[in-house]
Structures are given as structure tokens and as C-alpha cells.
């Protein structure tokens, strides 16, 4: 009888193993490095307001304040709408006028190294100032923003609480403070866990029964993603981005010229008085500025754009820096059928047409859709008391 039970148990075990998906050691390693989620985070040393609850409140107020634009009609949330994964659903952003690039969502932005499609921002706070000043977005100025903060009792009170002093006389200094408060708020926007995260954690500990809950199509797509698709080389790590810039063969022609991407981004960064090499960096002499100081400007940067995160990607259509691809299926087709001649001669040797079958393409889309959060991780907005 005992022998019979043991044999039955053995058979059951063999049957479970036969049904369970099998992953090689290399595949397991590649999958596990896309977690854990949420990833650990530490406050931004270049921003003394980072992680400060008072700064988060001020930043949230400013984020939804149309007075940051002299028109009174455009606010940060015009393009970064909370109900659209903090973007706008348009191919190209439209503030006071249409711009040349797609709006990136703000979820998980705290994990990024560079900001904007061209990385012209080396901190979230400097990047937060850029659309305020851009004529086609909010069309503001340092003087107008500083006058607003100084003149509004509520904003001035909150500024004093965050920075320990009233808004200073120098307009640019107030603008930098506004950027830092906006950044402190955006750092709180973290996406929730996804079906992929549940699978990844189960795989990491060999929990076969939990692994089986992850749809088979998503598992096949994941295998392509970390395997022959080479997608995870750039869409690396828990945030699914290596934080750098690549030419992926997306045309960069715009009305009346070309979008130079990272090439112009580096020049804009160096010319920006709010960059990390300037006097507004609260980590003066620290390590935060090394990336900016040691940045290399290469010819190949022309036409390179930042690798976006893929978390919640199914909710942030349309895609690519210019919003030219409407669906995830179109994005997969782009990489499946891409023209390698479109890439720079001195660009990546990594990108080749994947030549995926219809089934494989659908599997890859199923995997990308599994990166959608199960539930929002954001705390509900609470009523904010007047500042005293």
C-alpha cells in the first residue's frame, strides 16, 4: 500500500513537471532581473525637497495649477493626465500648440537617469521646468512663475515650509524651487504590481503552481523578449529600460526638418543653467553630477531617443518618440520587419529584423500587455489643509 502511494506521488510529481513551463538557467536569470517590483529607491541628492511630504504637497498643487502658464489654460496635467497613465493619448503633445514629440507617462519616472526623449534633462526637477518655459507647451517664464509664487499667499507659505525661506528675489532660483517641488510630487507616482511581477517572483523561488497562473501566450512572448528578440538588452531591469538612448530605425523627419534626438539633447543640457553642474544642484561636489560631467557627445547620438519603460505600456498608446505607431501590434511589426539600412552605419549592430510569425507577434503583444498594473499603487488623493 505504501509502495502504491509513493508510486502515485511520484507519478503526480512527474505529471506536474511535464505540464509546468521549463526555463533554462539563462532564461530564468534574464527574467528574474526584471524585478523585484517596486524596485528600491532612494531620494534624489540633487534635490533637497526630494522625499519631503511638504514638497510633495506643494508639487501636487503646482502640477494642477493652470497659472504656471501665462495663458491660464495649460497645466502640467494637460499633457500628463492622471487618468491616462499620466500622458495624453495623442501622437504628439499639444499645449499651446502641437510639439514634435509624444508625451511620455510619468509613472516610475523617479527611477530614470535622464529625462525627456532626448535626455536634455539630467534631473527630474530641471526637466519639470522645461515645459513651463517651452513656448509651444506652457509658454511661461522664470519671472512670471516667480511672481506667481511670491504673490500667492498659499504658494509662498508652502514654498517657505519646504525650503525654509520665503521665495527669493532671484526669479531663476524660485523657478528651480518650483521644479524641485514638482519633482518631489512626481517621485511618488509609482506603478503597481503586474501579472508579470507575480510570475517573476514565483519563478525566482520555483513556485510552479503560481507560475502556471501566468497566461501561456504571455510566457511565450516573454521567452522571445529575453531570448532571440534581444528586447531586454535595452528594456533592461525592473523598470524595463536601461535609461539610455538608441536609434531604433524610427524616422526622425519633422515638419520643416529633422529631430536630432539625443545629439541636440546633449547640447541643450550643457546650455541649461539648471543642469547638475550648475549652482542649483543641492549635491554640489557630490556624485550626482558625474554623469553630466562625463557625458560623451558622439556622432551616433543623432537620431537616438530614450528607451522608454514598458511598465503599463498597454495604457500609453500611441508609441515611439513621435507617436507614429498606434498600437503595440504595430510596434512589434516595426521590430519584426525593420529596415536595417535605416540605422546609422555607426549605430547598433544589435538590431535586426526579427521576422516573427503572426503567432509569435501576438505572443509578444500578450507579454507586453501583462506589464499592466493589476491595481494602482498610488495612495488616494487626500484633502490638503491650508498652509499656515
Amino acid at each position: 500500500m505504501i509502495r502504491f502511494l509513493l508510486a502515485s506521488l511520484l507519478l503526480c510529481s512527474v505529471a506536474v513537471q511535464a505540464q509546468a513551463p521549463e526555463y533554462s538557467e539563462a532564461e530564468t536569470r534574464a527574467i528574474v532581473r526584471h524585478g523585484p517590483w517596486p524596485a528600491p529607491w532612494s531620494r534624489d541628492p540633487s534635490n533637497r525637497a526630494s522625499g519631503n511630504p511638504e514638497a510633495v504637497e506643494l508639487g501636487e498643487r503646482l502640477f494642477f495649477d493652470p497659472r504656471l502658464s501665462p495663458s491660464g489654460k495649460v497645466l502640467c496635467a494637460t499633457c500628463h493626465a492622471p487618468f491616462r497613465s499620466w500622458q495624453d493619448g495623442r501622437a504628439r503633445a499639444f499645449g499651446l500648440a502641437e510639439v514634435d514629440r509624444n508625451t511620455q507617462g510619468l509613472l516610475d519616472v523617479r527611477y530614470h537617469r535622464w529625462f525627456g526623449w532626448d535626455g536634455a534633462g539630467d534631473s527630474l526637477w530641471a526637466q519639470s521646468v522645461r515645459p513651463i518655459l517651452e513656448p509651444r507647451e506652457m509658454g511661461g517664464s522664470a519671472a512670471q512663475v516667480a511672481a506667481l509664487v511670491r504673490g500667492d499667499a498659499e504658494l509662498a507659505c508652502r514654498y517657505r515650509k519646504v525650503f525654509g525661506m520665503p521665495p527669493p528675489a532671484a526669479d531663476e532660483a524660485v523657478l528651480a524651487g518650483v521644479g524641485k517641488a514638482l519633482a518631489a510630487f512626481q517621485e511618488t507616482l509609482v506603478s503597481g504590481r503586474t501579472p508579470f511581477d507575480e510570475f517573476r517572483d514565483a519563478l525566482a523561488v520555483g513556485d510552479l503552481s503560481s507560475m502556471k497562473k501566468y497566461p501561456e501566450a504571455a510566457q511565450r512572448g516573454l521567452r522571445i523578449f529575453v531570448g532571440r528578440g534581444n528586447c531586454s538588452t535595452c528594456h533592461f531591469g525592473p523598470a524595463f529600460t536601461n535609461g539610455e538612448f538608441h536609434d531604433t530605425g524610427v524616422p526622425f523627419f519633422i515638419k520643416g526638418g529633422v529631430d536630432p534626438g539625443r545629439y541636440a539633447g546633449i547640447r541643450k543640457l550643457r546650455a541649461n543653467p539648471l543642469n547638475l553642474l550648475g549652482g542649483y544642484n543641492d549635491d554640489a561636489g557630490g556624485e550626482s553630477a558625474i554623469k553630466t560631467r562625463q557625458l560623451a557627445e558622439e556622432h551616433r547620438n543623432f537620431g537616438e531617443f530614450k528607451v522608454p519603460s514598458l511598465r503599463n505600456v498597454a495604457q500609453t498608446a500611441p508609441y515611439m518618440h513621435n507617436g507614429s505607431l498606434a498600437t503595440l501590434a504595430e510596434v512589434v511589426r516595426h521590430y519584426s520587419e525593420m529596415d536595417p539600412d535605416r540605422l546609422h552605419a555607426d549605430g547598433e549592430k544589435l538590431l535586426k529584423p526579427l521576422r516573427l510569425s503572426a503567432g509569435e507577434s501576438a505572443d509578444l503583444v500578450a507579454f507586453l500587455e501583462s506589464l499592466t498594473e493589476i491595481a494602482s499603487a498610488l495612495p488616494p488623493r487626500r484633502p490638503v489643509q491650508p498652509c499656515r
Binding site: 531586454s232 560623451a296 549592430k349
Partner: protein, 136 residues
Amino acid sequence: MEKRRNHFRRIAGVLSLLGGLSSGGAAFGCDLPPGTRVESGRLAISYWTIPANIAVGKPFALELAACPKQSGVAMERVKFDARMPEHGHGMNYRTKVVSLGPGRFHSEGWLFHMPGRWEFVFDLGAERLTHSVQVE
């Protein structure tokens, strides 16, 4: 006759010592600190990264100690870099190298932005030493 033989033995001994100095680092006192050791015919180096493990997308620093295995190896022009030979590109950053004293260097600005095989390239004067690492 015996005197003459001893004289030749002494000359042979001196020549042997000189030969050792020009071909073997040890004879030049190449007692390098622990690290990854790489050698060319004329130079031995030991390098280590800070932190010790290189993670994709995370900045790191690198220190290097160099020791000439021959006389006349100048290290005035020092440049450190890295590349991904299979991908046809290097880093997106240029490292800054600071001398810490004779044959000792500290460099910062390192960041490997992709997983895969990276090749360190150390140019010290006319000498180029390379070493590959797999980064996960």
C-alpha cells in the same frame, strides 16, 4: 685558469640578472595590489572597480595600478575606456582619470548600459591593455 672561469661566471650572472630585469616584471618589483591582473610584454596592471560588482546601468569608479616590466615605459598619456565589440559601440560617457601617484590611477564616469560582454581598454602611454568582462 680558474680565476678566469670565475670571472666569466660573474659576468654571466650579471647578464642573467639584467635579462631578468628586462623581461620579467618581478625583477622590476611589480608587486601590484590585488585586483584583476593584465599584462603585456612591457607592462603589468592590476585594476579593481568600486563597487566590486559591475551592475548594468549603475555608475562605478575604477582604480588601476601599473608597473613597467621594462625600462623606458612612459605613462604620460593615460586614457581608459570600454566598448561592446559585438554591438559596435562603446560607453555613452568618457572617463576621467586622475593620477594618485606613480603608476596609480583613479577614474570615474564608468557606466555599462547594456548586459553582455564589455571590453576594458587601458591606454597607458604607447601601451594598450584590454580585458573583457561579462556584465549581467
